[in-house]
Amino acid sequence: MDQRVASLHESLTGRSQLRVPGWLPGGLSLLVISLILFASLSALFFNAQLASLTTTLFDPYLLRVLRFTLWQASLSTLLSVLLAIPVARALARRTTFRGRSVLLLLLGLPVATPVIVVIFGIVEIYGNNGTLNHLIRLFGFSFQVNLYGLTGILIAHLFFNMPLAVRMLLPAWNQIPDESWRLASQLGMKSGSLFKLIEWPVLRRVLPGSAGIIFLLCFASFAIVLVLGGGPRATTIEVAIYQALRFDFEPSKAALLALIQLVICTLTVALLHHWLRTLPLSSGLATTSQNRPDLNQPGSRLIDFGIILVATTFVALPLLALVRAGLTGPVLSVISDQSLWSAALNSLMIAIAAAGIAFSLGMALLTTSRYLRFHRKQPNRSELLELSGSLTLVVPPMVIATGLFSLLLPFGFVFDWGLVLVAMINGLMVLPYVIRLVGPALLANGEHYHHLCSELGIRGWHQFKLIDWPIIRHPAAFSMGLCATLSFGDLGVVALFGTHDAMTLPLLLYHRIGAYQFEAASVTALILALLCLVVFGVIDLLIGGRRALH
């Protein structure tokens, strides 16, 4: 009787709450991800006509594409990491100079800048009519830098991945205890032996993981190779997939290429998963090398600031060139063009949808991962579930897109639903950012409060609203802003699904570059870059609220 009265009381006062089992959100999320991957991969296997695998595998065109893809990715990785080491070291040695935080912010900029925009900036500097060739001619030399081909691909990859490598390597210096520096000064170590004996051992731990990530990014690089590759000589697998689907209309060839891409990415991740998992998260803002003895060694200051200056110039130049070209271009005629704004609107909708998809999937995965860790005491399953959100590292978006493309082609609505598919795949593409940015805060919350919450019966929506959201609000806003920005400026899968009726801003820019409308393109590029900043800022502010800059 008591119980019936109690439950009646609960339903009258609205205090009863639907109990959602803890495994459900993450389970659903995992189901969605697996369904998409399964649908896509099975379509690939079905289409690839594996029976003729051996003959196509030794096709000279395919072999050349594969060889070039591996070659440019390896070279890009090697150069990015090798050049990042001195830059990171200079930044680790000089921890207090003015503008250091602005500089680190600048090094973080390439990650969020649309690839196609950067390409435009790079063409402005290093292109045949770019600043560099002008200077060369001005000094009376007769040779000229030819951007298109491997050179252009390497420059663009360096632009994106050298700063990324710096940011991944920099936290390594934080792992060096202060005592090591004090000891080294007592022993009178010089800069060279400091590097060999103290810095290299900690660097060696993060190098494989950083190099692995950069290799994966360069291996699956699409827009850069598409624009700067300049022809069949310099084609990567992703571009070959695009050409097979959009120009040669050979879904089976595309499927085979996608499978090869998948196998190599999987192998790389399998080989490096130990290092990829332990890669530090820090933004590299704090370093503790105040006591290192080589700070005042003769010339060291000059070398450090020289290196920092060169690296900064390398990153800043294309961005500055972009601004200059955009401002001197036909601004009025471009912004009064209706097609620009309808493309921008499409991009915006894709961006918001992708950020929403990524955040929902990510939160569901993380909530269940936390439930498994703290309530069910299954840390291994918890970690596996979290890793499932980063599957797109193994299965590149272009591979998923190829599968879905060949799956939906027979039904004839690939292009009608193109932008929806783009939003969905982009959502999966940016999901790892949500997991990595929001995950730590949510897990820490679980660690502190899981007993308290379960005793007080705070669960489900209440737990999200009262306990989790206030804590994760800022990283969540940041991650959603980043997701939307990345998706807004992405020229990847949209190249497969986009049409003239379903145009996005990056695609429009690509078409204008392809049609040699460089003046209109320069304005479009600047607008795209500015809109990216606006999208990021507005989302970060709307969701994260007013606060000091982080």
Partner: protein
Amino acid sequence: MPFIELEALCYQREDWQLKAAFNLERGECLAVIGPSGAGKSTLLSLIAGFERLISGSIRINGRDYTTAEPADRPVTSLFQEHNLFAHLSVKKNVGLGRDPGLRLNQKDHLAIDQALEAVGLSGYHHRLPESLSGGERQRVALARCLCREHPLMLLDEPFAALDPALRSEMRGLIHQLIKSHDLTVIMVSHHPDEAAEIASSGIFLHQGELKAKGLMSDLLNNPQLPLLRAYLGVS
């Protein structure tokens, strides 16, 4: 019928085991003593429902709670740390004891005010935990425990991090609240002497087994068991 009946509790974590069985009368205050690793906190976690039993049963006030969710047990806990949500005000932290979604009615507001008054923190409603001292934070948590109006309170060394004078003050407060709110208390303590000030009875755990149960005065002043003598440092 005893108020709390713990029957043949058995819990296993990897190769470590906890076994215990005892009863408690309403209004009793029981101290759990023993070396670290003896299973004192685990015992409280089992009663609160944070950990699952392999076998045995937990009955409180005649009802079986062996498999009940923590929130459904007539139990309220005070932990050593993280008793308060750092981003919520004192009032909200206490209010969560009335309703997990903070949907508070007139009666709830009154209960919150009374509880804060009982722990000597009237007027602290809108402060954030970061602006409180360690002792004040535990008082807020104590106010929430009172608000929940559950008869059984579990104290897992909530005052261990406080200075000796504050610890003694908090013991006084607990003692007074036990009387005024008719609470039954199980408290883990690393300081048997201090525990004896408010706990009349005690149990001694060693390596996951209940080795002795009795009046605190007997356990402390006249320990028979060699293990207990060793723990207390009595030759």
